[in-house]
């Protein structure tokens, strides 16, 4: 497995852990309030910190295990995979944001708009890493 593949796995794990914990926290808050909780800056900060921490620790681990691999640039095959995955990620983001906007136009709920856009970002990034790993596997 190349360093870039390992990196994609780490980022996927980081996104899933931080994203699911954020979603859980919002769900609990909403349950306590009896309605969708407004976006909370402290929760967002916590999500960001968890994401960054897992990313740093994960990358430090894989770098420590194979220090020689860390300076590897993407080769032509990896670059093609990254470009394709990035392209699809952009499409996912676009669809998600449009859906969130349409939802806002229909229901006028600004909190839902925020969560919709945030979720689109999250899903698009997840999709990018999943596609990178899947396309790398298919091309090997």
């Amino acid at each position: 497995m190349t360093f870039n593949e390992k990196s994609a796995w780490i980022m996927l794990a980081a996104l899933l852990v931080s994203g699911l914990s954020y979603a859980g926290a919002v769900a609990n808050l909403s349950a306590d309030l009896g309605q969708l909780a407004p976006p909370s800056v402290p929760l967002l900060i916590k999500f960001t910190v968890v994401l960054i921490l897992i990313s740093i620790v994960g990358h430090a681990l894989i770098a420590a295990l194979r220090p020689g691999d860390t300076n590897d640039r993407l080769d032509e095959r990896e670059q093609r995979v990254h470009d394709k995955a990035g392209n699809w990620s952009g499409i996912v983001l676009g669809f998600g944001v449009i859906a969130a906007l349409v939802n806002y136009l229909a229901f006028g709920n600004a909190d839902l708009l925020f969560y919709g856009v945030f979720a689109s970002l999250f899903v698009a990034q997840l999709a990018e890493y999943v596609l990178q790993l899947a396309m790398t596997k298919l091309a090997s």
């Binding site: 497995m1 190349t2 590897d72 080769d75 032509e76 095959r77 990896e78 790398t136 298919l138 091309a139 090997s140």
Partner: protein
């Protein structure tokens, strides 16, 4: 998901092994790609760029057509 079949095949593995048992990693380093990319080329799962194809043939000291062959079928 069905993989698209490449319209050509290659002798990269054969030539590599004939060159003093060169490893995939060594060949990758010589032409500027990863070991995994060399493995994918040898398994006909990846179509290398023209530059990489030429670099491979130059490493083995043969013409491009001696490394890569178009399949008419």
């Amino acid at each position: 998901m069905v993989r698209k079949r490449l319209p050509f095949t290659n002798r990269v593995r054969e030539l590599r092994e004939a060159h003093g048992g060169m490893t995939q990693a060594e060949l990758g380093d010589l032409i500027g790609v990863t070991r995994q990319t060399i493995a994918a080329i040898e398994k006909d799962r990846y179509s290398p760029s023209l530059e990489s194809a030429f670099r491979i043939s130059r490493v083995f000291g043969v013409e491009l057509e001696e490394v890569f062959r178009w399949c008419d079928s």
